[in-house]
C-alpha cells in the first residue's frame, strides 16, 4: 500500500470528526456574552403609549422575562401560547421587545392572538436588538431583580423548555436572591 493513496481516507476522517462535533453543537445553545451582566441600557417607546419610554431601569425590582418577537416571525406565533402560559399560569412578568416591526402590525398581531406582555418596547430600527445580541427572533431573556441577564433562550419557547429549563432556573434565582 502506498502512502499517498491513504491521503483521501485521512482527510475524510478529519472531516467526519468536524461534522461530528458540529452535530453536537446545538445552534440554539450559543452562550451569550451578556449572561451574568446587567441588561444593556435602552430607552424605547412603549407600543401602546408611544409617548412613554420603557427603559432598562423598569426591568429592576422584580424578576422579568424579556421576549423578543415580531409580527412577521412565524416561530413567534408558534411559541405564543407558551408565552401566554408564562404570564398567566406562572404569573411571571413578561416584557415584549418588538423587534424590527411596524407598530401597527404589532398591535394587529396582538389583537388577533392576545397580548401576554405586561409592557412592550418598540425597537423598530433594531438597534437595541443589536446591543442585546439578538440574532434571530424569537429569543427570550431571563433577567433577575437586579437587572442582570441570567439566561438566554434562542428560538421558540416550548412547553418542555418551560418545565425543564426556565422554571427551575427561576426557582433557583429566587431561592438565592431571597437569602
Amino acid at each position: 500500500m502506498q502512502a499517498r493513496f491513504l491521503i483521501p481516507v485521512i482527510v475524510v476522517i478529519g472531516l467526519l470528526g468536524i461534522l461530528a462535533i458540529g452535530l453536537t453543537l446545538d445552534p440554539r445553545k450559543v452562550p451569550s456574552p451578556l449572561i451574568g451582566k446587567p441588561a444593556p441600557v435602552f430607552a424605547l417607546p412603549k407600543l401602546y403609549q408611544p409617548d412613554q419610554l420603557l427603559t432598562n431601569n423598569d426591568l429592576k425590582g422584580q424578576l422579568a422575562l424579556v421576549n423578543v418577537w415580531a409580527s412577521w416571525c412565524v416561530a413567534c406565533r408558534e411559541e405564543h401560547a407558551q408565552i401566554e402560559r408564562l404570564s398567566t399560569e406562572f404569573k411571571l412578568r413578561v416584557i415584549g421587545l418588538n423587534y424590527k416591526d411596524k407598530p401597527e402590525d404589532a398591535r394587529r398581531w396582538l389583537a388577533q392572538f392576545g397580548n401576554p406582555y405586561s409592557d412592550i418596547a418598540v425597537d423598530e430600527p433594531g438597534r437595541v436588538g443589536i446591543d442585546w445580541g439578538v440574532y434571530g427572533v424569537p429569543e427570550t431573556f431571563v433577567i433577575d431583580a437586579n437587572g442582570v441577564i441570567r439566561y438566554k433562550h434562542i428560538g421558540p419557547v416550548t412547553a418542555s423548555d418551560i418545565e425543564t429549563v426556565i422554571l427551575p432556573l427561576i426557582a433557583e434565582i429566587q431561592r438565592t436572591d431571597t437569602k
Binding site: 483521501p8 461534522l19 458540529g22 452535530l23 453543537l25 412565524v74 440574532y135 434571530g136
Partner: protein, 649 residues
C-alpha cells in the same frame, strides 16, 4: 378506514428487504463465482423500483385527497392548495424528498440493470450490489427516523400549508432535477467501487461509466440552473447566485463531476489518470451525500431552521462514514494496482485536461472550505461566523477564468501529441475573431466597455469559436457525419460555457439598481428606462392574498410593458412572499420588486436593470444540452464498440 398509508409503509419495508438481497447476493456470487447468484441482481432491482414507486404513488394520492391523518401530509398541504402544488408537496419537505431520493436511486439502478446487457455479468452484479448498499442506507434512514407514512390521530381538519417558497413552478422541478444529479453520481460511484473490487479498469470500463456520469451531470446542471432562476424570480433581490450553503452543496458535486467527465475521457482514450478518475467518482458521490447531509441535518443551516432533528444528523453522519470511509479504505488498498498505460505530455489534450482537473478540484476545494469554515470555526470554538459572497467571488473568479483558457487550448490539441505550432495555427483566427467581437460586442449592445470586460469576453468568445473551429476542422476533413455525437456534445457544452461567461461578465459589471419611493403616478429613470408606478390593487389567489403593484415601463416614450410585481400573504401560515415583475429579453432584463408601503399610498420599490441575465441560464442550458447529445454517442451502446480498445475521438 383508508389503509393505503399502511400499504405504503409496507411497500417501503419490502423495498428494504429487496435492497438487502440486491446488496448481498450478487456480490457474494461474484466473490464465490456463482452465476445464478449474480443474476439475482436484476430482478431485485426491478422489484425494488416497483415497490418504491408504489409507495411514492400512495403518498402522492394521500396528498391529492388531503388525507391529514398522515402527519407529513398535514404538515405540508392544505385543502386550498392548488392541485399541482399538492402533488409537488410530496417532495416539499424532508420525508417526502427522501422518498423521492430513494425512488430515483431505484430508477437509476433499474436503468443500469436494463441497459447493461453488454457488460460482463460480474461487473453488472457488483455495480448493482453497491447501489443496493446505498439504497439500504437511505431506506433504513427513512424507516427509522423519517417515515413519510406516520399517522397522527385525531387527524386535523385542515393541514398547515406547503412552504410558500416552494409554491412556484421553478421549485416544483428544481429538487427532482438536483436529486437526479446527486443520485446519478451513485452510478459512477458504483462503477468505481466495482473497478476497485475487480481490479479491472480499462477503456471498456471508462466507456461504460461515461454516459452515466454525463447524464447525472446534465441533471445536476439543469437543477442548479433552475435553482438560480427560481431565486432570481422569488427572492426579490435581483440576484441569481448567493453562495448560500445549500447552493454550494449542489455546486461542489457539479465541479467535481465536471472534473470526472474530463478525467474519464482521458482514461478512456489514453489509459491514464486511472486511480485519479476512481477517486473523483468517489468524491463526486461523497459530495452529493455531504450535500444531503448538510441540507438535511441542519449542521450548517442558519439558526432559524429550528425543526431539525439531531437523530437524523447522527444517522446520516454514520452512513456517510460507512460509505465514504469504506470506499476510500478500499481505494487505498486497491488503487495502487492500477497502472498507467502511458504518460501525459504538457502540449497534448490530456495535458490540458489534467490542468483543467486541477483547477476544477481546487475550485471545489475553495467552495468546500468557504462552506465548511463556519462549521470548523464553531467546532474548534473560534466563535460563530459566516463566510459570504466576497470570499467566494475573490477566490472563485481567478480560478475559473484560466479554466476557460484551457478549454480553448484543449480544443486545438490532439490526444497524445501536440505542439505549440499547430495550436497557434488552429487558434489564430479564433483569437483574432475573439478579440474583435470582445471589443465590439459590449459597445454595440450595452454602449460601454472596459479592459476587464473585454478580457473576460475574449475568453468567452474564444471558448465559443474554438469549439466551432474544432467541429469545422474535423468536419471539413472527414465529413460532419463522421464526427461522433460525443464531440458534438462537447462542443455544445463549451459554447454553453462561453455564453455563461458572457452573461456573468456583463450582468455583474453593468447591472444597475435603485431603491425608490414612488407615489402612484410618479416615475423614475434607470439606465435610460422609465418606470412609472400606477398604484396597487389587491387580489386573491387560491390560497393567498396578494398586493399587486402596477409599473409601466417605457423607453423613449414608448411603452414596453406593464409589470406586476406582487407581495403575497399565504393564508394558512401567514407567510409573506415576493414575486418580482420581470420583463425578460435576451440582452437585458428589467426587474421590479415591491418593497414596503409608505405614507400617502406611496411604496418603496426596488428596480433593477440586468443586462444579459438570460445568457447565464442559457449557457447552463447549452451545457446540459451538450451532455444530452453526448449520452447518445453510439460507442457507449454497441457492445463491440465498448470493447474496442482504440477509439476515434
Amino acid at each position: 378506514m383508508n389503509m393505503l398509508p399502511e400499504l405504503g409503509h409496507f411497500a417501503l419495508c419490502i423495498a428494504l428487504s429487496l435492497a438487502i438481497i440486491q446488496a448481498s447476493i450478487p456480490v457474494a456470487g461474484v466473490l464465490t463465482n456463482r452465476p445464478l447468484w449474480m443474476r439475482a441482481a436484476r430482478p431485485a432491482a426491478i422489484g425494488q423500483f416497483g415497490f418504491l414507486l408504489l409507495a411514492f404513488l400512495i403518498l402522492t394520492y394521500s396528498f391529492i385527497v388531503s388525507d391529514f391523518s398522515v402527519s407529513y401530509v398535514a404538515h405540508n398541504s392544505n385543502t386550498s392548495l392548488p392541485l399541482q402544488y399538492r402533488i409537488s408537496a410530496v417532495w416539499g419537505a424532508h420525508e417526502g424528498s427522501l422518498l423521492l431520493w430513494v425512488l430515483m436511486l431505484a430508477g437509476w439502478t433499474l436503468a443500469v440493470a436494463v441497459f447493461s446487457k453488454a457488460l460482463p455479468r460480474d461487473m453488472t452484479a457488483t455495480v448493482l450490489s453497491v447501489m443496493g448498499m446505498v439504497s439500504i442506507g437511505f431506506l433504513l434512514f427513512m424507516l427509522l427516523t423519517s417515515n413519510p407514512f406516520d399517522r397522527q390521530f385525531p387527524a386535523p381538519a385542515e393541514g398547515r400549508d406547503l412552504n410558500p417558497l416552494l409554491q412556484d413552478f421553478g421549485l416544483v422541478i428544481h429538487p427532482p432535477m438536483l436529486y437526479m444529479g446527486y443520485v446519478g453520481f451513485s452510478v459512477a460511484f458504483a462503477f468505481a467501487i466495482a473497478a476497485l473490487i475487480s481490479g479491472r479498469l480499462d477503456t471498456a470500463w471508462a466507456r461504460w461509466t461515461r454516459p452515466w456520469t454525463t447524464s447525472a451531470w446534465m441533471f445536476l446542471t439543469l437543477g442548479i440552473m433552475l435553482g438560480s432562476w427560481w431565486a432570481y424570480h422569488e427572492l426579490g433581490w435581483g440576484g441569481w447566485w448567493f453562495w448560500d450553503p445549500v447552493e454550494n452543496a449542489s455546486f461542489m458535486p457539479w465541479l467535481v463531476g465536471t472534473a470526472l467527465i474530463h478525467s474519464l475521457a482521458v482514461t478512456e482514450k489514453r489509459g491514464i489518470f486511472k486511480s485519479w478518475t476512481v477517486l473523483l467518482a468517489i468524491t463526486a458521490f461523497s459530495l452529493s451525500l455531504l450535500g444531503t447531509f448538510l441540507v438535511r441535518s441542519g449542521v450548517l443551516v442558519s439558526v432559524h431552521a429550528f425543526a431539525t432533528d439531531p437523530a437524523r444528523g447522527v444517522f446520516i453522519l454514520a452512513f456517510f462514514a460507512v460509505v465514504v470511509g469504506g470506499s476510500l479504505v478500499l481505494y487505498a488498498w486497491r488503487a495502487p494496482r492500477f497502472k498507467a498505460e502511458g504518460k501525459a505530455g504538457f502540449f497534448s489534450r490530456e495535458g490540458f485536461l489534467l490542468l483543467n482537473n486541477i483547477f476544477l478540484v481546487v475550485a471545489a476545494t475553495a467552495v468546500f472550505v468557504g462552506t465548511l469554515y463556519p462549521l470548523l470555526a464553531d467546532a474548534l470554538a473560534l466563535g460563530k461566523l459566516s463566510v459570504g459572497a466576497p470570499y467566494f467571488n475573490t477566490v472563485f473568479v481567478p480560478l475559473t477564468l484560466p479554466l476557460v483558457l484551457l478549454v480553448i487550448g484543449a480544443a486545438s490539441l490532439n490526444w497524445k501529441r501536440g505542439n505549440a505550432t499547430t495550436m497557434w495555427q488552429r487558434l489564430r483566427w479564433v483569437a483574432v475573431l475573439a478579440v474583435l467581437t470582445a471589443i465590439v460586442f459590449p459597445f454595440i449592445l450595452i454602449g460601454q466597455s472596459s479592459l476587464i470586460v473585454a478580457a473576460a469576453l475574449m475568453l468567452a468568445f474564444g471558448a465559443i469559436y474554438s469549439a466551432m473551429e474544432e467541429i469545422y476542422r474535423r468536419g471539413s476533413r472527414r465529413g460532419y457525419r463522421k464526427i461522433p455525437l460525443a464531440s458534438w456534445g462537447m462542443s455544445m457544452a463549451h459554447i454553453g460555457l462561453g455564453v455563461f461567461v458572457i452573461g456573468v461578465t456583463l450582468v455583474s459589471t453593468y447591472s444597475a439598481e435603485s431603491d425608490v419611493r414612488l407615489a402612484p403616478g410618479d416615475s423614475t429613470e434607470l439606465s435610460g428606462f422609465s418606470f412609472r408606478f400606477d398604484g396597487i390593487s389587491h387580489e386573491a389567489g387560491p390560497n393567498y392574498d396578494s398586493t399587486v403593484g402596477k409599473v409601466t415601463l417605457s423607453h423613449e416614450n414608448k411603452v414596453l410593458a406593464v409589470l406586476r410585481p406582487e407581495k403575497r400573504i399565504y393564508r394558512a401560515m401567514g407567510n409573506s412572499m415576493t414575486e418580482a415583475g420581470v420583463l425578460p429579453r435576451l440582452h437585458r432584463d428589467l426587474y421590479v420588486s415591491l418593497g414596503e408601503p409608505l405614507s400617502n399610498g406611496a411604496w418603496s420599490l426596488r428596480l433593477y436593470y440586468r443586462p444579459f441575465m438570460r445568457f447565464v441560464w442559457l449557457g447552463a442550458i447549452f451545457m446540459a444540452l451538450g451532455g444530452l447529445i453526448a449520452i447518445f454517442d453510439k460507442r457507449y451502446r454497441h457492445p463491440k464498440l465498448i470493447h474496442a480498445q482504440t477509439g476515434s475521438v
